[in-house]
Symmetry: C2
Subunit: 418 residues, 2 copies
Amino acid sequence: MSELADYCRETAERARRAARDLAVVKGQVKIDWLRRAATAIHAKKAELAAANEKDLAAAPDFGLTDAQVDRLRLTDDRLESIAAALEQVALLPDPVGSVRESTIRPNGLVVNKVGVPLGVVFFIYESRPNVTADAAALCVKSGNAVVLRGGKEAFHSNTALHALLADELEASGLPRDAVQLVSTTDRAAVGEFLGLSDLIDVTIPRGGKGLIERVAAEATMPVIKHFDGICHVYVDRAADLDMAVAIAVNAKCQRTGVCNATETLLVHREVAGTFLPRVAKEYAAAGCELRGCERTREILPDVKPATDEDFHTEYLDLILSVRVVDDLEQAIDHVEQYGSHHTDAILTNDLAASERFTAAVDSAAVMVNASTRFNDGEEFGLGAEIGISTDRFHARGPCGLRELTSYKYVVHGSGQTK
Amino acid sequence: MSELADYCRETAERARRAARDLAVVKGQVKIDWLRRAATAIHAKKAELAAANEKDLAAAPDFGLTDAQVDRLRLTDDRLESIAAALEQVALLPDPVGSVRESTIRPNGLVVNKVGVPLGVVFFIYESRPNVTADAAALCVKSGNAVVLRGGKEAFHSNTALHALLADELEASGLPRDAVQLVSTTDRAAVGEFLGLSDLIDVTIPRGGKGLIERVAAEATMPVIKHFDGICHVYVDRAADLDMAVAIAVNAKCQRTGVCNATETLLVHREVAGTFLPRVAKEYAAAGCELRGCERTREILPDVKPATDEDFHTEYLDLILSVRVVDDLEQAIDHVEQYGSHHTDAILTNDLAASERFTAAVDSAAVMVNASTRFNDGEEFGLGAEIGISTDRFHARGPCGLRELTSYKYVVHGSGQTK
């Protein structure tokens, strides 16, 4: 075995041992750690900023764009937000040990389904250093050990944050190895970890599609994947058009670079003539480019034509595809054919249409009369999230503490035999 | 692409289309199908038995043991049981479409977590033909299409059962392709299906360890695995020894060839002198061979020595490893080191010991004062099961209808924007 392979295996073995301790620790110890870590971030802002400066100074070497450099920067406010996020995770209910379901069998057996950690999480992410603290907080709170693999652009920031988190683990009486940061930026390390299915229970990649595809192909353990969000808003013929304008604009423009932003607007032909000119004015005011189907362009002649490719595209930008559809069924078929099963909304006051859309559209979140932007762990009441799964297996949609756990059956009897 | 590859892809594509229809069908239609199929089994017993005769006649060519031939045989009683199992699945609550959790957010959004099918299941199994009907029933009831791959020894029986099930699907207005049987016994077909992650959502192999390992290694989609059950009964110093004798004998001897049968008995040293001679007498009466550690053999000198290998072995036979342990912690360590995290029991009247054991032992089922034999979907109140998962991800322990489903969030608003 190579030195790198040895390093990766030893790291994962340490995580596995830490996970065993962490699984049976009292919730208060984890809460103490989160609060201590928040306090330490306040106390060590200067050190963290200094480490961040090294990354910022090296950013041009990595060819980062201005937007990427901005995301990398740890301002005073952002450090406060990181600390606040830790405090918030401390307040969330502990998913480990509580009874999720309970049945008493006719023979008197009490069958309880009890939350348990998944074990060891391998978490791969890209530039933003706040993710280091967020992911560590969610994993430890759910009783999991985590091996963090951050982007090379944020290496110094991540290292400083990780040292702080690990020091506070020790200070709280928790195993330091519960949160480890991969100390090499060698890309081959990812491949090594992905081969360790005997030690790592789940891999969570957060980043571009290329990263996630590579991880899914190479991983020998389960992966919680977060692919693209080609999200739709369908304006039904029975929509309240004032509401529809507000939601359609919000879903596209409130923030564009996120997976739950809408990429395609579908409009029932009976309301297209009234609705499209109104909403187009708002999009123009927001600086949003429209690309329309032929029927859209009959109503809005200045709009560029949309190609088939456009309807398959996650723009993550101020661009929107627009299509006029014949009816609800055509809208559903469009979502099935072009969508990514992430988040799709129907705007309507027609109960039967709402029921048909929510039953037939098989997406992680299906919204009625609300913006697609609400598909989010915090908005759904799950607390903070580690990502939004586009899988169907284990976790779908926002992944919070619960999705980082499994369960076991604890059965109490009084001498039952079969 | 080869002809075989074409065949497999087309089969999976048909299943995918059927799954889309099946996902939105009313529960009553699925119930009707299950009842019609049960009636048809009663009506076609002679045909089914004739098909089974062909398999039985060919059994010597496959080198089946007497026990295997017995499992292959479709007697009148067994056909009645298959029909009865279909009737039972009909009675289970439908896992699709019901709200599992519901939250109202401060902004008025109603966030419902709703059960949905996984999609397409690829189910691989070995000789017993009743599994054809059981698996089809559970998959369709949970809204999934299924591609069945049975053992070559049961090919004629499976073909006859499948034809009946598919005919009744059509008669009930359901897509015939919702249940398909792989029509070739070519082993390469399994490999082809395992590569179709774009069409198949989950693979469930049921059979020997070799089959499951091969499937887990080759599959490109999630797999629900069912590995071995090295299950333990630990008799604590605070156990009721009468109860302990009854449970220890039941857990080993009631049925030996099953995964939840106990393979190792751990006994606290303080009660070993009293307990072991008593239980040994019962095991002798049941024809069960004991293999003991040194301390066991001091108490029971006629017992053969147990090797380290014994403690790692799933006998599936009337053989039991026995070890005397110093205390609860040594019992927990033994279970962790040698067990397969399937089912482990503590027998005790000591509350603290019971709490420590159930918290520290990380197995799919942890029993207190009950036989390990109860780790079973029906005994846990899940209804029929498609297997017992030894995974931590998605499904752990008995897999019933619920474990064959995923969920989506259906969110109702009244114009909310972010």
